[in-house]
Amino acid sequence: MSPSPEPLLTVRDLEVTFSPRKRLFRERIALKAVDGVSFDLSEGETLGLVGESGCGKSTTARGLMRLVEPTGGSVRLEGRELLGLPAKELRTARRDIQMVFQDPYSSLDPSMLVRDSIGEPLDVHVKLGRTERVERVAELLRRVGLPPEYMTRYPHEFSGGQRQRLTIARAIAADPKILVLDEAVSALDVSTQNQVIGLLEELSAQIGLTYLFIAHDLSVVRHISDRVAVMYLGQIVEHGDAARVFDAPAHPYTEALLSAVPVPSPRTQRARERIVLSGDPPDPSRVPPGCRFHTRCAYAMDVCRTEVPLLTPAQGSGEVACHLHTAGPRLAGASVRTLATRSEVPA
């Protein structure tokens, strides 16, 4: 990604710490769910955020929106710092970042008419007259591909895909700049999912929306994202252009994650090399020393068990935090890991 003049959103060293009590009357322990996450989001681009459940991708999103209060770092929206902003100013700033959640059944109030669910952000941020409000809701419904007549219905009358369209209509009601989509298409059947993805792509083309797209389905992420960041145990371990990350993953974790996704073609699937990671991700309250991934990494070296790897430029684009690329064996001036990657060749 060429450095644009100023990114829309700049996240630096974001930290979110939870302190659950392990046992009653015992000391609270600190659990860093997000531990120093940094990224930029430029206008009109889609950044995919991937990783296993519990890696902190949703907490990152909630932290930057201050739905959970970050314990450190900085989040700047068009240069304006959001962390530490008083509640009233935060509310106006939030107009520019809206969120869509996974479950369209629980994110719409069942007792509210569609008109009022979609109109609510307008009441908070825009304040329109009655007829203008109805007109605006009708336009929003049309924009997400639903007939305006639906505004006098209740959520239970809609299917899952239609409900997700309604939550998107509500999210874009007050003209936000950024949509944070947290597993927004994960609960939908594949053909419905594609319709919603098509809608998102249309909206980004029409009104220049910027997306932070969080999902565990890597095929979907590959399809929709310009850039991808991979998280493991609260940190970004690799990021870069989607094509580079998917075709030539530089971090062993990314490589394993990608190889675990089954491809819907029997012949290709049989021919693929699979790396089955052993075990579950470690307990986030007891992060391993050195590289956090070394306990499951097939390439782990001595240095990985003691030294924390820093993000360094990855060949092609983006950055990677892995000792293989700095302390690992080198061949023809490049790290062996990069040379060894081969892109998938469909039969």
């Binding site: 399809h223 994650l257 012949r267």
Partner: protein, 345 residues
């Protein structure tokens, strides 16, 4: 597993190659507006040692089909009929619920999507595995405990003796699914029905669980019916596949044949709709519209309102018959011989 004489192994020599035979299964469920047919004339058989995939969108009747066969649908709200429902030498249509319950453990067991709600939070994991062994094999308390630990070890739960004494909440999603597989394996059944067993799991854990299922199947030679909506998972584990739509089987074929030469427009649509990591430039197609609602099935071919190839003949009359389109390949499409559909090579 030397402690038991595997029932599967014993029967293997005496019974035919088919473990499960279903002919014309019809399932009605009670809805607010009366009885509605949700599975309509499903017929298939499963061979020993094979993995049969059943795919379809939610509401297509794939889970109800399997739950009905296993006698696990709520009796008052369900009517199950079939011309044949044969599991090994048991005629399931003639069994009382009590008899069915005796047959189930040693012959057919199920693995569900949500391992947390399938395990009882109030009992230790070891107790829940042991219970199955006591109930179906009359094993003693000590014997069943010992074998529970053995089973946990078999499904790759580390330090099985310690873990057997723990409760389900102390297990991660993947580990819970391993426990479910241990329970399903306990009586060494001939058929395992796995209903979206990896849908709630991360891909890395999904890969582990699929690998485990493959291993235990290889070891015990059981049949697996694998219900899923993920065609990637199908391509990874299945030998043969049935495609369900609106309560009916619309296509059935061997794995490669189905993916390479789909003969029903619905399957073509599903394949085109799968986002592919290895081919991202391809535009994501989607099947227009929605599956029909229960009790409001369209006349003629049930898929015709969403089908891009629908002709006049598809619109009226009864549903088209399931026809043989190629050797071991059936389709419920009237136009199958004129259409050239696109697959995923």
């Amino acid at each position: 597993m030397t402690a038991t004489t595997g029932s599967a192994a014993v029967r293997a020599g005496t019974v035919t190659d088919t473990t499960l035979e279903v002919d014309n299964l019809v399932v009605d469920v009670l809805t607010e507006t009366g009885w509605a047919t949700v599975v309509d004339g499903v017929s298939f058989s499963v061979r020993r040692g094979e993995t049969l995939g059943i795919v379809g969108e939610s509401g297509s009747g794939k889970s109800v089909t399997c739950l009905s066969i296993a006698g696990l649908m709520p009796p008052r709200q369900t009517r199950v009929r079939a011309d044949t429902l044969r599991l090994l030498d048991h005629d399931l249509t003639r069994l009382t619920p009590k008899q069915m319950s005796d047959v189930r453990g040693p012959t057919i067991s199920m693995i569900f999507q949500e391992p947390m709600s399938s395990l009882n939070p109030a009992f230790t994991v070891g107790d829940q595995i042991a219970e199955v062994l006591r109930r179906h094999e009359g094993a003693s308390r000590r014997e069943s405990k010992r074998r529970a630990v053995e089973l946990l070890d078999r499904v790759g739960v580390p330090s099985p003796a310690r873990r057997a004494a723990q409760y389900p909440f102390e297990f991660s999603g993947g580990m819970r699914q391993r426990v479910m597989i241990a329970i399903a394996l306990a009586c060494n059944p001939d058929v395992i029905v796995a209903d979206e067993p990896t849908t709630a799991l991360d891909v890395t854990v999904q890969a582990q669980i699929l690998e485990l299922l493959r291993e235990v199947q290889h070891e015990h030679g059981m049949s697996v019916i694998f219900i899923t909506h993920d065609l990637g998972v199908v391509a990874d584990v299945c030998d043969r596949v049935l495609v369900m739509y609106a309560g009916q089987i619309v296509e059935g074929a061997g794995l490669d044949e189905l993916f390479e030469n789909p003969r029903h427009p619905y399957m073509e649509g599903l394949l085109a709709a799968m986002p592919r990591m290895d081919n991202p430039s391809e535009a994501l197609a989607s099947i227009p519209g929605h599956p029909p609602r229960i009790g409001a099935m369209p006349d003629g071919c049930r898929f015709h309102p969403r089908c891009r190839y629908a002709a006049d003949a598809c619109v009226g009359g009864g549903t088209p018959p399931l026809e043989v389109a190629a050797p071991h390949h059936t389709t419920r499409c009237l136009r199958h011989s004129e259409l050239t559909l696109r697959g995923n090579p």
